[in-house]
């Protein structure tokens, strides 16, 4: 760990070997956003105004820039110059991307969204917290569950009960006054 990351010398662009498929796909996404911008932009109606520029020019400028930048980044990637992933205190610079964890978290957020209306916000929030803390490696499930339930109830009390934010309390807490704004 005593060597500095290579991006220090190459202007923030890593020169690791291997073909960066994911990065190329993302840059291609930038490029295709620009193409969509042009295609859909052509459909913007131009009112017959006399002077200056209408509603279509600025979208075309932005779309053109997106196409240029997307292409330039793809060329850079094919030449082997890759982006430097963001760093942070809790990021392990040696860890490989753990796609399973990301997928699980996305799944729990999706479950949370599906639960908000039928089960109420506190239930949905507790499920999200419980699932996310378990996914992230907190294995004591009963402690996770206690913290999840307490936190959901406190948030519901503070935001719905005290501050009047209209969070649906759900059928379990329907009649409890302090949880309803």
């Amino acid at each position: 760990m005593s060597t500095h990351p290579p991006e220090a010398q190459t202007g923030g662009v890593d020169t690791a070997a291997g073909r960066p498929i994911g990065e190329i796909i993302f840059a291609a996404g930038v490029l295709s956003l620009g193409i969509v911008g042009f295609v859909a932009g052509a459909g913007i109606k131009m009112p017959p105004s006399a002077t200056g520029i209408g509603p279509r020019e600025f979208p075309f400028i932005v779309s053109g820039l997106l196409i240029f930048l997307g292409t330039a980044i793809i060329i850079q990637l094919l030449r082997g110059r890759r982006g430097a992933p963001e760093e942070g205190e809790d990021v392990d610079p040696n860890a490989k991307t753990d796609w399973l964890t990301v997928a699980k978290l996305v799944g729990f957020v999706a479950l949370h969204i599906l639960l908000i209306v039928p089960a109420g916000w506190p239930v949905a929030a507790a499920v999200l917290f419980f699932g996310a803390s378990w996914t992230l490696g907190s294995l004591s499930w009963w402690r996770n569950a206690v913290i999840a339930v307490v936190m959901a109830l406190v948030l519901q009390f503070v935001f719905a009960g005290l501050l009047g934010v209209s969070l649906p309390a759900g059928f379990l807490l329907e009649g409890v006054e302090i949880f309803n704004g």
């Binding site: 979208p59 942070g88 908000i116």
Partner: protein, 518 residues
Amino acid sequence: MDNFMALMEGFSVAMQPMYLLFALGGVLVGTAVGVLPGIGPAMAIALLMPITYSLDPTAAIIVFAGIYYGGMYGGSTTSILLNTPGESASVVTALEGNKMAKAGRGAAALATAALGSFVAGTIATVLLTFLAPMLAEFAVRIGPVEYVALMVVAFLTVGALLGASVLRGLASLCIGLFLALVGVDALTAQQRYTFGNPFLTDGIDVVLVAVALFAMGEALYIASRMRHGSVDVIPVSGNWRKWMKREDWRRSWKPWLRGTFIGFPIGTIPAGGADVATFVSYAAERKLAKGEDKAQFGKGAIEGVAGPESANNAAAAGVLVPLLTLGIPTTATAAIMLVAFQRYQIQPGPLLFEVEGALVWALIASLYVGNLMLLVLNLPLVGLWVKILQIPRPYLYAGILVFAALGAFSVNFTPVDVWILLIIGILGFFMRRYGYPIAPLVVGLILGPIFEDQLRRSMAISQGDPTALITSPIAAVIYATLALIFALSFWMKKRQKAMESSMAEDSVTSGGGDQARA
């Protein structure tokens, strides 16, 4: 003298017990989020925006200002005390501060950081008090052409200078500009990029995007590469009144002042934010140190904490100058502050001091108050901040996800918004993963509509002649300054890279994997 009277009136508002309480809440939250890795002031303000909607504007702005200043204080505690081997030199304070803590001088490092932040924050707020109204008076007279020039400067510096890769920064900016186009064109009422979808007709909510990118995207990204195991915090002991020895005072006071006067100007011009200021201050201190003190650099020199920390806080105050007087944010946090203002129908810009005088001066007064609160809070309460730093990471990031979902749901009280949060959050994850900076996207999204409006006005005035955009004398000066800023900051970045790599070599030759922090 007018301004002085106005400031006094601002104090009379900010000193009301209610608002003092809000300021205290703001600085407490700000320090906490500054201490916690993974949460910054930008994310905290974005998360709190939907749920503080019921507050009156003055209270909300005071809370956000407290978070803004508090976040700057909290960050130093983390970089000094958190032992994360292998992280690069992205935070200059960590260079010397972490070494000092390992050598048992963590208390002195924390104290000089807090006192330096206070000195710098106070002096910089005084400078802000005098400079901002003057600049506002000048700004009232500039027209759309000059505005376009100023915004081009903001776009290019934020897009090209904030991240490591110029192309990726500009791509991020353009994605933001594109998202800003979705909805109904303000001038001609034509639908753009709505694809007939009624949800898109209203445009994409800035708060939602900010929460998604800063909170959801960040949590997903950190989860994908999380540092597992216990959180390793270097202990600090002793009575906080004895943390700074006479020797430490002697070596700290000049770096505090130098850091202030380096940081404030760099903050006011859009030159890449506080990072540049801390680096310049660090380089200056290293150069100016003599004899024994100089030998300590790289092993825990107190000047290397005092200077950059002061520069950081002074730059944070400097950033408020273009934000308040021109309505132009130059950092991610400033961009979110601008959104917060807009939520309360307050438009930062040349007219702000005239239209919302009472509120602005209350805000500036609360900055003085907040600074003092932060000094009082930071030294005695360091034990509390250390506890916060030790929150188990699974709970921390699970909590961030819950708050992000809460914030998104509170925008319109419909689950659809939480789906949008998730989708844009995944976009934010991939942007971080592939090295695209987030801040330019947010700045583009916020400034995009204003920029297009001013651009079209300029073109209407010039009868469609694009050369009018550069022939106005003021605009020409602005573009020339832009070229200068670019030349200067590329030169500084080069110096920074050279210094970082030379320090990396130093730590290799001085041996020991533990010192990789350089």
